[in-house]
């Protein structure tokens, strides 16, 4: 019937909007950043400084921003992975049903806290604490940002890791237990290794979440565009740069295009992370 067909088409259309939107975003970013390739040229992006407003010479090097994002992300992941993976193992394998009923909603609430609220918490509570702890002159640095982001990554990593652990077939565990292994031995030697691809994918999606986070890092990392790997130094991340500067630039200026170049870099990074995570999940048959 033609009516069915029309409706079917409409539904396919609505379902594929997200594909269309992703494609359009790629196109749009490319179009806006486009002429940066010719003037002043891609070489400019490899400059060692990011000084977009200057009377001397404007410089649009992405290296300080990349290093800023990398440091903050690394700190966040080092903090969040052990906590989140252990939490996932506990919730999936050890926790009693009532415990699970309490733990899971709270982890989900953590995911729902707006990042500006967490940023404010970081500014008022965490930054002074870090300042005292390390005897620094200011608590606005990569470490504070990294810890805040770790909090934000917890729900992503826990939820997906837990799914992965849950989807390990019962026959594996039963076989292990039947061979005389204890509960704990079964978890560490059988269940977790079997779920490892899923856990790795969870971590990668966590990285994607962290690297794209903006508001909280803008508020607590100090935003100095330095090339550094020191966690106690202030850093400027790619996302914070776009957020802080996008409002100001005249459309079409070199600075505007440079910000879109950051956007493209960011999109490519998160896109690759997602692809790798998907591939890992598919390859090891963890797909639902």
């Amino acid at each position: 019937m033609w009516k069915d067909k029309v409706i079917h088409l409409l539904l396919v259309g609505t379902a594929s909007t997200s594909i269309l939107i992703v494609l359009l975003i790629f196109l749009f970013l490319g179009k806006e950043a486009g002429s940066f390739i010719f003037e002043p040229g891609l070489k400019e992006l490899f400059d060692r400084s990011w000084i977009p407003v200057s009377f001397v010479r404007e410089r649009f090097g992405l290296l300080p921003l990349l290093s800023g994002s990398a440091v903050v992300t690394a700190i966040a992941m080092v903090t969040t992975v052990p906590i989140s993976v252990l939490a996932a193992v506990y919730i999936a394998e050890v926790a009693r049903p009532t415990e699970r009923e309490i733990l899971k909603p709270f982890i989900e609430i953590l995911a729902g806290i707006p990042s500006v609220v967490l940023g404010f918490f970081g500014l008022i509570v965490l930054a002074p604490l870090i300042k005292e702890l390390f005897g620094l002159s200011s608590g606005l640095n990569a470490l504070t940002g990294g810890i805040l982001l770790a909090l934000m990554a917890v729900p992503t990593v826990v939820t997906i890791s837990e799914d992965a652990i849950m989807s390990v077939p019962f026959s594996y565990k039963n076989a292990s237990l039947a061979l005389g292994a204890s509960e704990l031995q079964t978890i560490w030697k059988v269940t977790v290794p079997a779920a490892l691809p899923g856990i790795i994918a969870a971590i990668m999606l966590g990285v994607g979440r962290v690297i794209g986070e903006t508001m909280a890092v803008l508020m607590v990392t100090g935003n100095s565009a330095l090339i550094t790997l020191n966690p106690l130094s202030p850093v400027r991340t790619m996302t914070a740069t776009i957020a802080a500067e996008m409002g100001e630039v005249p459309i079409g200026s070199v600075h505007y295009q440079a910000l879109f170049c950051i956007g493209i870099t960011l999109l490519i990074i998160t896109f690759l992370l997602n692809v790798v995570a998907r591939v890992v999940l598919n390859k090891y048959g963890m797909k639902k």
């Binding site: 400084s49 300042k131 802080a244 459309i251």
Partner: protein, 291 residues
């Protein structure tokens, strides 16, 4: 099954309708046909937001059929909006740059400049810091990173922690032009989104230094303003209304409103109000210096 399909279709159509409605834009051009009636937008300097909103409130009280919408974001943001045609007036704490004027001309916009008041930029430090005065040269050295310890400018042996506004701020550009003599800020400067963040940062650390508008320095808590001298021979001057107006205080600047072409209709009425007696009284009340 059929029912589910039907409701899904309705839902999809509703979504489409919402998207279409979202595209409709508030037109600002056709306003200002009748006297005192219409809708105008003012966008720009964060420094001036408080002043602008007080103006807008008073203006709307005397013009009940007019609506004035104020947005901050920074002087650069305001100028960009004026050039891109998304605002009627832009408020800035620095004059338009050569580049911006060219860009505006390229887009067929001819901005008109109006000075509506003056503002001094105060240098703030932590109250624990014994330094009471600095020269312009010392300030330049501190903010460009040539001097990194308070000892070098007559203070204690303590590293200097430089706080600055983000580069979208008019204060950032003004300070760079007039105090840094167009040199770049030190790469170690922490760029903070907003004046209150700078005040908070300086209040939190004994080695910190930052710059804020005069109005903020007077009301800020946990901070101390530093006297500024033009050079070694010059007399250190405290930032105040008198010293800004007389020109004794070296870091002062005009505050601007820009219009697209010659002001007409409601835009003109708003400008006249801002530059008139009532408007200038508000300038004084909000911590700036009237003309």
């Amino acid at each position: 099954m059929n029912n589910i399909r039907k409701s899904l279709t309705v839902l999809a159509l509703a979504c489409a309708l919402f998207i279409l409605l979202g595209c409709e834009r508030h037109s600002t051009d056709e306003a200002a046909t009748e006297k005192g009636v219409g809708y105008i937008t003012v966008k720009g300097s964060d420094t001036m937001v408080h002043l602008l909103s007080t103006w807008a409130e008073d203006f709307m009280r005397s013009h009940p059929q007019a609506e004035v919408s104020i947005t901050g974001g920074g002087s650069g943001t305001g100028i960009a909006a004026l050039i891109n045609g998304t605002t009627d007036l832009c408020a800035t704490s620095r004059p338009m740059m050569e580049k911006e004027t060219q860009l505006a001309a390229a887009k067929g916009v001819q901005p008109r400049e109006f000075i509506v008041g003056r503002d001094g930029i105060a240098i703030i430090v932590n109250p624990q810091n014994p330094v009471t005065g600095l020269t312009m040269l010392q300030l330049k050295k501190i903010f460009t990173g040539a001097v990194t310890n308070w000892q070098e400018v007559g203070g204690q042996d303590r590293p200097i922690l430089v706080f600055s506004r983000e580069s979208s701020s008019g204060t950032y550009v003004f300070f760079q032009e007039h105090v840094l003599a167009k040199a770049d800020y030190t790469q170690r400067a922490r760029l903070l989104p907003g004046t209150s963040a700078v005040v908070q940062g300086v209040a939190a650390d004994s080695g910190a230094i930052g710059y804020v508008g005069l109005g903020f320095a007077e009301h800020g808590e946990g901070i101390k303003t530093v006297l500024v001298a033009v050079d070694d021979e010059g007399r250190p001057v405290a930032p105040s209304e008198e010293s800004v107006r007389s020109g004794d205080y070296p870091i002062a600047r005009p505050l601007y409103l820009y219009t697209k072409g010659a002001p007409t209709g409601l835009v003109k009425e708003f400008l006249d109000f801002a530059m008139g007696v009532a408007g200038q009284k508000i300038v004084k009340e909000t911590g700036y210096v009237p003309m």
